[in-house]
């Protein structure tokens, strides 16, 4: 049985374990129908031209974890930003781990999707927001919607800000062969509220894992959301990350994506600007080696006047790694005075590495400022010689230049400890110990 058939036939088993009377189940049923029609995307589709899911579909994934697997904090501590205090929503093989988590209902809700989808007190929020910005016809999103049951649920009421950042970590233990995970998360940040979220998918196994995640983020008027995605997963872990952001007037949403590992990663990052004076930022640092493959597929839809979007993606590709950047910007006719900036700069450090970079601009308004630039280059030989001539060995000089290249993207990271951590990850990834504190 191929993966699609297996998923569709599993849906019935899934229905035995959820409340089919809940209105959300109608959403799930519509979604499985869509997935059944569309199936997995193929390379024939323009949006999937450079990324093939074929080999993943041949893997016999287990769709529901059979048993609860536990992890000791000391064994997984390094995956947390343990230098600072944080709220934690932790899943192990798709199942909530209360032992590793620290949730709260103190003025804000930082808890679980499974609770939000079943308990009446959350129904008003679920009715208004659940599956409202996520696509209803993109097949992988609907696949996730069909099986939506567990994930992070974050609700920040008006004028509130949680006392500390929130970490969402999805562990895969792989204790039962290959596993497919489909976390579904919802983040609602009400007027003038603020939140910082760090999200990570971490496989602890050499078995294959595939995560097809959907996160919906709603930023109400003047809300501020910082979302950091850390993708530094095992060589057998693949991720399809579908993130949808809906923004209202004057809200600021920054999504940082740090892609340092994994086997195949596809980031579908979608911003919808439903108001004026909105600021949307998408920054990315990608450092790949071996045969890793990362595909950044971004969309910003400017639907109202006077908004801005900023995209800055930097990539360093070594070995036989493959990078894809497709940045789509749509500016509606009414969206006058839009400022949309997009940059994608890449360095190839191996002859076998490759990058496909493509801006896609659809601009229907006339009074807009749009810029996009894509560069693909090698390290600057003159700069390398300059550093060497000061006594810095070639290897360190290369690393320093690559570090410098990626560095400006880190400037917008607003959690200092996270910034330090990412800096260290970059240095480690580049295989050097730089002579100064990062």
């Amino acid at each position: 049985m191929d993966l699609k058939d297996k998923l569709i036939s599993s849906f019935m088993a899934f229905e035995n374990n959820v409340d089919v009377e809940h209105p959300v189940h109608d959403v799930r049923m519509a979604a499985i129908k869509n997935f059944e029609e569309k199936g997995f995307p193929s390379k024939k589709e323009e949006a999937w031209k450079y990324t093939s899911l074929n080999s993943l579909q041949k893997i016999d994934f287990s769709i529901f974890p059979r048993e609860e697997n536990t992890l000791e904090y000391k064994d997984v501590k390094k995956y947390f930003l343990h230098e600072i205090d944080s709220y934690k929503i932790v899943f192990v093989d798709g199942i909530y781990s209360s032992y590793l988590s620290e949730t709260t209902h103190d003025g804000v809700d930082i808890c679980l999707m499974s609770a939000a989808l079943t308990k009446p007190m959350y129904k008003p929020v679920i009715d208004v927001y659940f599956n409202k910005v996520a696509s209803k016809d993109e097949s992988l999103t609907t696949l996730n919607t069909a099986f939506s049951r567990e994930g992070a649920y974050i609700y920040i009421p008006k004028n509130k800000m949680p006392k500390k950042p929130i970490e969402i970590i999805h562990f895969a233990t792989g204790n039962e062969a290959s596993i497919l995970l489909q976390p579904r998360s919802l983040v609602v940040v009400e007027e003038n509220a603020e939140v910082q979220i760090i999200e990570r998918h971490q496989s602890l196994t050499s078995n294959d894992t595939l995560t097809n995640a959907v996160t919906e983020i709603f930023a109400a008027k003047s809300a501020i959301v910082d979302f950091y995605k850390i993708q530094n997963d095992a060589a057998t872990a693949s991720l399809i990350d579908n993130t949808y952001v809906d923004q209202k007037d004057k809200s600021v949403v920054n999504v940082h994506t740090f892609s340092f590992g994994g086997k195949l990663t596809r980031n579908n990052l979608n911003f919808y600007q439903n108001g004026e004076y909105i600021d949307s930022t998408m920054n990315g640092v990608t450092i790949l080696g071996e045969k890793q493959h990362v595909d950044h597929y971004t969309l910003v839809h400017h639907m109202q006047p006077n908004c801005e979007s900023h995209q800055d993606y930097k990539g360093i590709y070594g070995d036989s790694s493959i990078g894809v950047f497709n940045g789509k910007i749509i500016v509606d006719k009414i969206a006058q005075k839009t400022n949309a900036f997009q940059k994608n700069n890449n360095i190839l450090i191996s002859d076998k590495a490759s990058i496909n970079s493509k801006p896609q601009l659809e601009i229907f308004a006339d009074d807009v400022k749009c810029s996009h630039g894509c560069t693909i280059g090698q390290l600057d030989e003159d700069a390398l010689f300059y550093l060497q001539s000061r006594g810095i060995p070639k290897k360190e000089a290369r690393a320093l230049l690559m570090y410098a290249f990626a560095n400006n993207v880190l400037e917008s990271v607003r959690i200092p400890e996270l910034k330090t951590r990412i800096n260290k990850l970059i240095a480690k990834k580049l295989g050097v110990n730089l002579g100064f504190d990062l």
Binding site: E381, S389, R390, G391, P393, A404, F436
Partner: protein, 250 residues
């Protein structure tokens, strides 16, 4: 200290240096002058080990050691310093962090521990004062957005930090205003001793009034076509290069 014998170097099969002979002893100051495109920067680059240029013939020795197989960083560790005609901008690395890295890499190569942070700060303060460099400057990205003169002053600051045995200053004077030239020149003079040497590449006599050379060489078409004392620079200032070009053509 530095002995260059019959040095030929080319880039993309184009020969640029065509048989350079030059000996620089400890304590000496040599000036190299010559028309645009004559190969001055190439010579400087080749001495510093730039692999872009291929040495096809001849040799460079530093304190008796042949540098042929020696990488640019190892040459730096052995005391070679090049002040670039066009310093490269390195966004994202501050001057301070860059200097810390450079110093500690040199120390590492000599089997020494990293310099303690306190000493490093003291050294940076001392040398930036010597060159009258504003401290704020040091936290900026290396050379990024620096004015022409600021870049040159920053090169000499690096030289002061690294204390090389042989410093090659490639047109360090161009782009400097009169005050900056004085500051930079006096910095270089303070760093000078009987144990180190300086090669000044310049187009102008003016710098040589501050840093007085023991020898002046004229490079033309990849060869040293004339050498003399400091009065040769004055003669060149007066007469230009044409008479030399004609002389060598014969």
């Amino acid at each position: 200290m530095l002995k260059i014998k019959d040095l030929h170097a080319s880039v993309d099969d184009k020969e640029i240096l065509r048989g350079i002979n030059l000996e620089v002893k400890a304590g000496e100051v040599h000036a190299i002058m010559g028309p645009n495109g004559s190969g001055k920067s190439t010579l400087a680059s080749v001495i510093a080990g730039n692999e872009r240029f291929e040495v096809t013939q001849g040799s460079i020795e530093l304190s008796g050691e042949d540098l042929e197989e020696v990488s640019p960083e190892e040459r730096a560790h052995k005391g070679v310093f090049l002040s670039f005609q066009y310093p490269v901008e390195i966004p994202g690395v501050s001057v301070t962090n860059f200097m810390k890295t450079a110093i500690n890499e040199s120390r590492k190569a000599k089997g020494l521990e990293d310099m303690p942070a306190k000493d490093m700060l003291k050294l940076i303060r001392e040398k930036s004062e010597l060159l009258e460099i504003d401290r704020k400057f040091l936290s900026r990205s290396l050379n990024e957005g620096f004015s022409g003169g600021e870049k040159k002053r920053n090169e000499i600051f690096q030289m002061a930090m690294l204390e090389p045995k042989i410093a090659i200053l490639d047109e360090t004077d161009s782009g400097l205003d009169i005050d900056a030239l004085r500051i930079v020149a006096s910095g270089v003079n303070k760093l000078k001793s009987k144990d180190n040497a300086v090669i000044l590449i310049t187009h102008y006599q003016r710098l040589l009034e501050y840093i007085v050379p023991d020898f002046v060489h004229v490079l033309h078409n990849g060869k040293i076509v004339k050498s003399g004392g400091k009065e040769l620079a004055l003669e060149l200032e007066e007469k230009g290069y044409d008479w030399l070009k004609q002389e060598t053509a014969v």
